[in-house]
Symmetry: C2
Subunit: 444 residues, 2 copies
């Protein structure tokens, strides 16, 4: 259904048809459709979606649309909506609301939901604790398959949360049972015979990136979250892990391009001033850092006054250095992010980068040396460029691989040690190398 069709149906008051179409719509697509509506129509259409589904759709809507909708809602209606949402979605939503509204809302909702939400709100924002849902199937050793299925039927929560069940004894997680095992075994099979006691788990305080990486590594559907005493307090499901992987990757890419924004709004929804703010910090820092390179160049005024051609090669040297550095830093940053590289690999990385730099730099130096010799017939200039290129590339690759590792070691995000910063540092080095070699070879 397109926006146009929906508007026509609304105009003709064909509410029954709208209701029917909405009921077969996927919640994700429905949220997208609602985004195209104005406040008034939004409120009308949203109320036509059945309650359970509406809560899910609400979880997929963006903040602006939610706000529009909430403005038309009474406190009771909002509380009702919160009640129908899964606790982790409700928390994501409440984290973006003003504190006084949150307090009011929490007062209105059902006690169990409230305490679940309150508990989740206490965990640090990017931790496993804030990512998890408290809804999971808790079984006991002495139960049988039939009792387990009865419990699933009774508790009846989201389907992705029932596919791994947790065998618990005094809150301690003792093992897991998959839904597949429950489906293929007889009703009187004991849970203790089905459960496996080797399982992957995370702690409430683990970083969400670590949690997501466990999903990536082991291909899990859900992972149990344990507190400091080893008691199970919730689970994280794979769909939230995929969201976190996407979010963390986007964040890394933005950091690598000298963007500071932490806001989760989409590109088009972010205001011009927000965009400008997230870009200007690093641009200012890098701009002023680049003046250092300028000052160094100014110091060699006599050199390029004598041989003006020297200036013509500055962009080529700077760009090549920057590109070499960003190749290395990108490989290392990504390797560290997906857990393929560790701090303990540092020496291997340096040795590898050094050899790669040697091969690459010699090839570039020969190609460019020959070009310059042919174009300018100037053997000395060809030598200056060739040697400068070799040294610049080696320095660039070393800086490019070492800075992300160093950042990781200092518990900083390696992603800030990417192209823009590396380029600025390598620029300075390459200019110093270049003019030193030029003054030496041309005996200036």
């Amino acid at each position: 259904m397109t926006n146009k069709v929906l508007m026509t149906l609304l105009h003709d008051k064909k509410y029954k048809s709208i209701h029917e179409v909405l009921s077969v719509y996927n919640p994700v697509d429905l949220a997208d459709l609602l985004e195209t509506l104005d406040a008034q129509h939004l409120a009308v259409v949203f109320r036509m979606i059945e309650k359970e589904k509406a809560a899910e759709v609400f979880a997929y809507m963006d903040n602006d649309q939610r706000q529009l909708l909430l403005d038309t809602f009474s406190m009771e209606e909002t509380a009702e909506l919160l009640d129908a949402m899964s606790a982790d979605d409700a928390v994501d939503f409440l984290e973006d609301m003003p504190a006084n509204v949150v307090t009011h809302l929490l007062e209105k909702i059902d006690w169990t939901t409230r305490s679940a939400i309150n508990r989740l709100l206490q965990y640090p924002e990017d931790s496993a604790g804030s990512m998890m849902t408290v809804e999971f199937i808790e079984l006991h050793r002495e139960m049988n398959v039939q009792q387990a299925l009865d419990k699933i039927r009774r508790v009846g929560i989201d389907s992705e949360t029932v596919y791994t069940c947790y065998v618990v004894e005094r809150h301690k997680l003792e093992g897991i049972v998959t839904a597949k095992d429950l489906m293929i075994h007889d009703g009187d099979t004991k849970i203790s015979d089905l459960m496996t006691d080797t399982f992957i788990s995370v702690h409430t305080t683990d970083d969400q990136e670590f949690v997501a990486n466990q999903f990536r590594r082991y291909g899990l559907i859900a992972i149990p979250v344990l507190d400091s005493e080893g008691c199970i307090v919730g689970i994280v499901t794979f769909d939230d892990a995929i969201d976190v992987l996407t979010e963390e990757t986007t964040e890394d890419m933005h950091k690598m391009a000298a963007l500071t924004s932490n806001n989760e709004e989409s590109y088009l929804k972010t205001s011009v001033l927000q965009h400008a703010k997230s870009r200007i910090v690093w641009l200012m820092i890098l701009m002023f850092s680049a003046t250092i390179t300028g000052t160094i160049i100014a110091g060699y005024e006599d050199a390029f006054a004598a041989i003006p051609l020297l200036v013509a090669f500055i962009p080529m040297l700077m760009d090549t250095g920057g590109n070499c550095g960003s190749q290395s830093s990108t490989l290392i940053i990504r390797g560290l992010a997906v857990g393929e590289l560790q701090f303990s690999d540092t020496l291997k990385i340096i040795w590898k980068e050094f050899r790669v730099a040697t091969v690459v730099s010699v090839a570039l130096a020969i190609a460019n040396g020959i070009r310059i010799y042919i174009m300018y017939g100037n053997m000395q200039m060809a030598m200056v460029i060739a040697i400068s290129l070799i040294l610049t590339v080696i320095v660039a690759k070393m800086v490019g691989c070492l800075l992300p590792i160093a950042a990781k070691r200092c518990h900083l995000d390696p992603a800030i040690m990417a192209s823009p910063l590396i380029t600025t540092i390598v620029d300075t080095c390459s200019i110093i190398i270049y003019f030193r070699i030029a003054t030496l070879i041309f005996a200036l």
Copy 2:
């Protein structure tokens, strides 16, 4: 179990203990452990893992280790291993083997497995068809829950593949039933009453990135793959989708850093020459492109001969332009990759970038203008830099946002239109702008 413990147990011939420890080990971790072994021990330990699990472990091992192992295997043993692997894992493995070995192997294995593998091998490498597994639970409308559970018990495949069952009539997919529905309903409930006929599906020829994005968007456990006639031929499960998302993101990041490699080996396993090869192509192209900027600078020899200070600001201008361009291009490339931005947003993007560029450039121009006026007391120079900065930033942001969109439009990967290429293009523009303005203001 660390490598050291394992070696000690092996040395002491404690095979029973090893076998027991191996049996509780997670296949992913086991593959990691095996990586630390030499060929001889690898073969011994691998044969101690039970057959089903061994096939899974094999799927997680990297190519080198697999080759080591296969060298010690007879053709029969290899065929047996292939038989035990899931069809999609077997295909991934066979795609890396020489064609004659594949033919030999396929002759030895079970007919059903062979035909499944053969079918999968025919799909283009990065398509939904090559990603999918042919193992899924096929149900019919007239079956009841008990019959469905019996079928699952009988077919007994990987657990992640049973959580969505497919209702099929003459190969056509008519609807889906979740495992949760099967678990919570009575044995005599008809499948036709449980199934939902609205579902997300993909086609065999869809690109793997598109498939993965459907998982991201809808949070699915599995997605059915249909052929051109709407018949279901396989399913893709979420764990493979996570792998593809990771792989595609890494590929994007590498492209964005001017790396051409398509090899899937890890950083440390890639040889120095492989590394050099994947880096040198773009470095050469960009290095020679950068000489254009050099040639332009050389053309303004008289200008910087008259005012040598002009040269000192080149790095700052070039770097700022490059950084501004790569900020914009990264935002657009990522937005396009996650499906947040579309080609139809082009005008909105240009307008937004133009306004952001204006705000950012004016701020940078004022900051730097004041600095230059204070440091050099040279109002004209402050003006030249300020105006050049404003124009450079605007051009950089325009180039940075337009090139990825243009690439997308031409069915190229937007990721190649990133920092390195943008920087080189923006460099040329900024140098032209700079010297034009300088000659104008200083009346050179």
